[in-house]
Symmetry: C2
Subunit: 362 residues, 2 copies
C-alpha cells in the first residue's frame, strides 16, 4: 500500500492506494469520533461490496446505516441527495456520524455534499469504486449535485477525512466505466506531465487489460498531481483550474445530451480533443500533437468526436458553466502536450471553427 498526503492550509488527509484495502477497516477507524457510520452507495455497487464493508465495521462495534441510491449521473440531484438526509435523520445520526461514500464519482460527489450540509458539516470518507473516482473525483473536496440548467452548479468545497482507493474494486468495473476513467488519466498527462503522457501512449493496452501494476501506477501518478494542485489552490482561484481541461466542452456535452447519456469521462474524452483542436487552431500545438491526443483518446475506448449540439446550443450551454468569469467563457488549452494554460479570450472564430469542425460528429 502507498499513502499520499494531501496537505491544505488548515488540514491534511491521507490517500491510501493499494489492493485489498476494503478489507483493511483499520484504515477507517482512526477517523471516527462516534461509533456510527452511514454508508452511501448505489444499487450497482451495493450487491458487490456493501455487506462486506458493513460487517467489518459492525464487528468493530460500529452501528452501520446503509443508504442505497439509484445509480447514474441522472440521479445526481436534490431528490436523490434528500434520500441521504431522510435516512440520516430517521436514524438520529449526529453531526459527528461518519458518512462513507462507497461508489463512483456520482456517489462521492453527492455523499460529500450531503456531509458538507448535514447539520452544517459531518465528516466523510471516500472509498472510490471506479477508476474515474480513484484518479480524480474522490480527491480534492469538490462536491456537488447537478441543476437542470448546469452540472455541479450546487455544491461545496468540503474535504474528506481520508480517501481509500482499493485497486481490487476495479476488477468488477464495467469496460465502459474503465474507459471513462482513462479520460481523466489522460487529462493529467496532457495538462502537466509529458512523460506520463508518453507512458500512457506506450501502456494504454495494458491499462485496458487491467494490468494491476499499470493501473496502480496510473492512479498514483494522477493522485500525486491532483494532491499537488489542490494543496496549492484548494478553492480554484488559480492553478487548480487546469484540472478543468476538456471540461468546458465536456460539461456542455453532458448537459446538452441530458445527464447520464454520455458518461462524464466520455464527454471529457471528446472535450479534450476539442480543447486540443482549439490549441492547434491557435497555432499553439502542432497538427501532429493534435493527432496524438485524438489517437490516445481513441485507444482509451473513448469517443474522439463530440455530438453535434448545434453552434448556438453549444455556446448557450457553455455560458452556463461555472467556468464563466465576467461574461467570458474560460477554457483550458494546451501550450504543448504536458503544459496546459487557462485562456479567457479564445477568439469567437476559432471557437466556431472547432465546434463545427472534424472533431464534431455531423
Amino acid at each position: 500500500m502507498l499513502t499520499l498526503d494531501l496537505v491544505l492550509p488548515n488540514s491534511r488527509y491521507p490517500i491510501h492506494i493499494g489492493r485489498g484495502l476494503l478489507d483493511q477497516v483499520d484504515l477507517l477507524l482512526p477517523h471516527f469520533s462516534v461509533r456510527q457510520a452511514a454508508i452511501v452507495t448505489n444499487d450497482v455497487v451495493a450487491p458487490l461490496y456493501l455487506e462486506s464493508l458493513s460487517s467489518q465495521l459492525r464487528a468493530q462495534g460500529i452501528e452501520v446505516i446503509q443508504i442505497v441510491l439509484p445509480d447514474g449521473e441522472s440521479n445526481k440531484n436534490w431528490t436523490t441527495i434528500n434520500l441521504i438526509f431522510d435516512a440520516l435523520l430517521s436514524h438520529h445520526c449526529e453531526r459527528n456520524t461518519m458518512l462513507i461514500a462507497l461508489g463512483g464519482g456520482v456517489i462521492g460527489d453527492m455523499t460529500g455534499f450531503a456531509a458538507a450540509c448535514y447539520q452544517r458539516g459531518a465528516p466523510f470518507i471516500q472509498i472510490p469504486t471506479t477508476l474515474l473516482a480513484q484518479v480524480d473525483s474522490s480527491v480534492g473536496g469538490k462536491t456537488a449535485i447537478n441543476h437542470p440548467q448546469g452540472k455541479n452548479m450546487i455544491g461545496a468545497f468540503y474535504q474528506p477525512q481520508a480517501v481509500v482507493a482499493d485497486m481490487a474494486l476495479l476488477d468488477t468495473l464495467p469496460e465502459r466505466e474503465l474507459c471513462a476513467g482513462l479520460a481523466e488519466v489522460i487529462k493529467y498527462g496532457l495538462l502537466g506531465d509529458i512523460d506520463f503522457f508518453c507512458w500512457l501512449e506506450q501502456n494504454m493496452a495494458l491499462l485496458r487489460a487491467r494490468d494491476a501494476d499499470a493501473l496502480q501506477y496510473a492512479v498514483q501518478r494522477c493522485c500525486e498531481m491532483k494532491a499537488a494542485l489542490v494543496g496549492e489552490d484548494e478553492k480554484e482561484h488559480g492553478v487548480r483550474a487546469l484540472l478543468n481541461l476538456g471540461h468546458t466542452f465536456g460539461h456542455a456535452i453532458e448537459a446538452g445530451l441530458g445527464f447520464g447519456v454520455w458518461l462524464h469521462g466520455e464527454a471529457i474524452g471528446a472535450g479534450m480533443v476539442l480543447a486540443a483542436a482549439a490549441s492547434e487552431a491557435l497555432g499553439w500545438i502542432s497538427t501532429n500533437d493534435l493527432h496524438r491526443v485524438r489517437t490516445l483518446v481513441g485507444q482509451a475506448g473513448l469517443p474522439v468526436q463530440a455530438p453535434d449540439l448545434g453552434l448556438n446550443n453549444w455556446l448557450s450551454l457553455m455560458s452556463h458553466d461555472k467556468k464563466v468569469s465576467q461574461g467570458k467563457i474560460r477554457f483550458v488549452l494546451l501550450q504543448q502536450i504536458g503544459q496546459a494554460v487557462i485562456e479567457n479570450n479564445l477568439p469567437a472564430e476559432i471557437l466556431q471553427q472547432v465546434l463545427t469542425g472534424r472533431d464534431i460528429l455531423v
Copy 2:
C-alpha cells in the same frame, strides 16, 4: 454609524450599525468583484425596500436581479431555496455575483446557504430587516434550511462579506416581529452579561416603544457579544454553543407545532423560561431569578409558557436536534443570570419535571 469587526482565523468582516444605512450604498460597493447583484427578499419586505436598494445599485452601474420569495419559516426549505438557484442560473449569474439578503432570519439563512452552495460558493451581504436578524442571525455565518424532521438540519457555516444593520428598517417591523427579536436580545443578557440583563429590565418599555437610542444600544451590545463568541469559535466546537440558550426547547416547539406557527423568537422566549426552570430545579439559580427571567420574557411580549407537546413528543423532537452528542441531548442552562453553561447530563427526572411543570401550557 458604528462599525464592529468580526475577526475570524482566515477572514474578517464589518458589521455596520446605524440609522439610514440602506441609503448608503457605498457601504456595499467595496465588496463587489463583478458588477452584478442578486437581491433576495420576501413578498413582505419587497414592497417596502426592494426598489430603493435596486435603483441605488443600478445607478452605480450594477445589474440587479430581484428574487422575491414567499415569507415565513414554513418556506425555509429546498423548494423555496431552489427558486434562488433557478433565478441565478436563468440570469447567467457567475460565482462572483454578489447575493444580498434583504430580510429577516429566514431570508438571511436561505440566501446565505444559497450563496454557500451556488457554484460552490458566491459572496453575499446581509441586510437584516428584523430585530431578530440584526441582533443574532445575520452575524456569524450560520446558514441553513429546515428539513421536515428538524430545524436548520441542512446548511453550512458560511460568512457574509458584510452585515449592514439599518435601524430605520425597524420602523416598519410588525409588533409581533419586534417582540420575537427581543427574545434573542434577552438571551445575550442571560448567557453572558448580567449588567445588560439589568439594563433590559429597566429599558424594556423603551425598546417596546422603539426608542431609537435604546434599540441601537441593544443591537450593538448583542452584536459585540456575538462577534466575540463567533470569533473565538466559528464552527461551534465550544463557547459558541452558549448562543443556543433556549434553543433546544425552542426548536422542538417550532418543529412540534409546525414551522411558522410560533415565530422563532416566540419559541426561544418560552424555551429560555424552560432552561431557567431546569436551572432552578437543579438548584443553580434561585426561584427569584427564575421569576426575573419569566417576567422579562413576558414584558417583551413573548409567551412564557411553552405549548404542551406531550412528554414523549418533546423528547423525540429534542433528540433530532443538532445539539445531540453521543446520544445525549445538550442543553444550555444558567449557573446564574449572566452566566450560561453547557450541560450534557441533565437528569431525566429534572427534564420531565420541567416539561410537565408550570412553564408548560396545559
